[in-house]
C-alpha cells in the first residue's frame, strides 16, 4: 500500500515547519512507521541541519530529478531510528530547478517504500510552495498565535482548499502565560479565525533552540513534554481521538494562579 503524502506548510516563514516535519517524522518512526522526509526548500535547505544530518549529504532532490542519481542514493538513513530517511534539498539551486511533474514523480517513488512521506514546504506561496503542495494528498498547516502568521496561514489554507485536500492545523509556540494575561491569541481564537481542524498544540519551549543547535530532534528526548505532545499529534494523525491538554485556563482561579506566578 502506498504511503500517506503530507505537506507541512504555513505561508509565513519561521513558524516551525521544518521543526514540525523533523519531530513528527521522528515520532512516527519511533512508533514503527516507515518515514521519508523530503526537504522541498531548494536553495535554503534546513531539514538536514535540524536533524544533524548535514555532513552526510551526498546527493539531493534536484540531482534525483535530473536523473544524475537514484533516489536511494540520495536518501540519508537516520541511524537513530529504525526507518527514517531524509531526502535533502539542493542548496545552490532555485525552486524552479524542478517542475511539479518531476517532484510528483519523486514523491511517488518515495511513497512506494514508506508509510509516510512528509514534505517540508518552503515559506511563501510561489513555485516552491506549489510543488510541495502538488506532491501531497494532505496538508498540515503550521501557525503561531500571532496576527501575521495567522493571516498568512489563512492565505495558504485558501489555496490548498481549492485543491480539496484535507487540511489540519498545528498551533506552534503557544505561550500559555501570555494567553492567560490576554497578550496572546488563544488556540480557540486561532481555530475560530482559520476554521481548520486542529491536529495539535505545541507550546513554546526554549529547549527547541538547543536541540536544533545540536541537530537532535526534541522528540527524541525521553520524558520531555514535547515528546509527549508530538506523540499525541502522531496518534491523532493515525486516526486516534486524543484529547487536548488544557493550556488555556480562563477561570478566576486560573487567573489568580497566573497572576501570582513568578518567573
Amino acid at each position: 500500500m502506498s504511503a500517506r503524502r503530507i505537506v507541512v506548510t504555513s505561508g509565513k516563514g519561521g513558524v516551525g515547519k521544518t521543526t514540525t516535519t523533523a519531530n513528527l517524522g521522528a515520532t512516527l518512526a519511533i512508533r514503527g512507521k516507515r518515514v521519508i522526509l523530503i526537504d522541498a526548500d531548494i536553495g535554503l535547505r534546513n531539514l538536514d541541519l535540524v536533524l544533524g544530518l548535514e555532513k552526510r549529504i551526498v546527493f539531493d532532490l534536484v540531482e534525483v530529478a535530473e536523473g544524475r542519481c537514484q533516489l536511494r542514493q540520495a536518501l540519508i538513513r537516520d541511524k537513530r531510528f529504525e526507518s527514517l530517511s531524509v531526502l535533502p534539498a539542493a542548496q545552490t539551486r532555485e525552486k524552479d530547478a524542478i517542475s511539479l511533474e518531476q517532484f510528483r514523480a519523486i514523491v511517488d517513488l518515495a511513497a512506494e517504500q514508506a508509510d509516510y512521506v512528509l514534505i517540508d514546504c518552503p515559506a511563501g506561496i510561489e513555485a516552491g510552495f506549489r510543488n510541495a503542495v502538488g506532491g501531497a494528498d494532505e496538508a498540515i498547516v503550521v501557525t503561531t498565535p500571532e496576527v501575521s502568521a495567522i493571516r498568512d496561514a489563512d492565505r495558504v489554507v485558501g489555496k490548498i482548499a481549492h485543491d480539496r485536500k484535507p487540511i489540519r492545523l498545528i498551533v506552534n509556540r503557544l505561550r500559555p502565560e501570555m494567553v492567560r494575561s490576554g497578550d496572546m491569541l488563544s488556540v480557540e481564537d486561532v481555530c475560530e479565525v482559520l476554521s481548520v481542524e486542529l491536529l495539535g498544540v505545541v507550546p513554546d519551549d526554549e529547549e527547541v533552540i538547543d536541540t536544533t543547535n545540536r541537530g537532535e530532534p526534541i522528540a527524541l528526548r525521553e520524558g520531555g513534554r514535547l515528546r509527549a505532545i508530538y506523540d499525541k499529534i502522531a496518534r491523532r494523525l493515525e486516526g486516534e481521538m486524543v484529547p487536548f491538554t488544557n493550556f488555556d485556563n480562563t477561570s478566576l482561579f486560573g487567573r489568580l494562579i497566573g497572576a501570582l506566578k513568578v518567573g
Binding site: 496576527v147 493571516r151 489563512d154 494567553v179 490576554g182 491569541l185 481564537d189 487567573r255 497572576a259
Partner: protein, 149 residues
C-alpha cells in the same frame, strides 16, 4: 500593580484587539481575493432591487468600508425610475432638493409630456452582519441614507 489587577480581573489585553483586527483584515483579504464574488453580489443586489425600482446597471458602484469594528458594504445605485404606487407604469422620482441640479436634457425616448428629471441617487448601507434584503425604496428626499440600520 495595575498590571496585576488587570490580570486578576481578566481585563482584555492586546489579544482581544488582535483578534478583532485579524477578523477584519481577513475579511478584507478574502474580498480582495474574490472579485468574482463581489461581481456576483452586485448582480444579485441589483436583481433584487430591480424588482422595485429601475436602476442604472452600468453605473453601480460597490465599496467596502471599515466602520468601527465591522466591515460595511456601501452600494451606490442610481435609480432611473420608480413605479407608481398602484403599479401603473413608470413615474419619475421627485427631484432631490440638495443635489446639484443637472440641466434638463431633452430626452428623445421619454414621452413628450414629461420632462426628463435627473436620476435620484440612493445610498444603501449594508452591514456585513445583515443578510441582503432590499428595503422598500422610499424616494431619497434628503442625502441621508435611507433604510440604514
Amino acid at each position: 500593580m495595575i498590571d496585576f489587577l488587570r490580570r486578576l480581573f481578566g481585563q482584555p489585553g492586546s489579544s482581544a484587539t488582535a483578534k478583532d483586527r485579524l477578523r477584519l483584515v481577513l475579511m478584507t483579504d478574502h474580498l480582495e481575493l474574490a472579485p468574482e464574488m463581489i461581481e456576483a453580489m452586485k448582480r444579485d443586489l441589483v436583481d433584487v432591487i430591480s424588482r422595485h425600482v429601475e436602476v442604472d446597471r452600468e453605473r453601480i458602484e460597490v465599496n467596502f468600508e471599515r466602520q468601527d469594528s465591522a466591515l460595511a458594504m456601501l452600494a451606490n445605485i442610481p435609480i432611473l425610475s420608480v413605479n407608481r404606487p398602484n403599479g401603473n407604469g413608470a413615474h419619475a422620482a421627485p427631484e432631490p432638493p440638495k443635489e446639484t441640479p443637472e440641466p434638463m436634457a431633452a430626452a428623445a425616448a421619454e414621452p413628450p409630456t414629461e420632462a426628463k428629471k435627473p436620476p435620484v441617487r440612493k445610498r444603501r448601507r449594508k452591514s456585513s452582519k445583515k443578510a441582503a434584503a432590499a428595503k422598500g425604496a422610499a424616494p431619497a428626499a434628503t442625502p441621508a441614507p435611507a433604510g440604514a440600520s
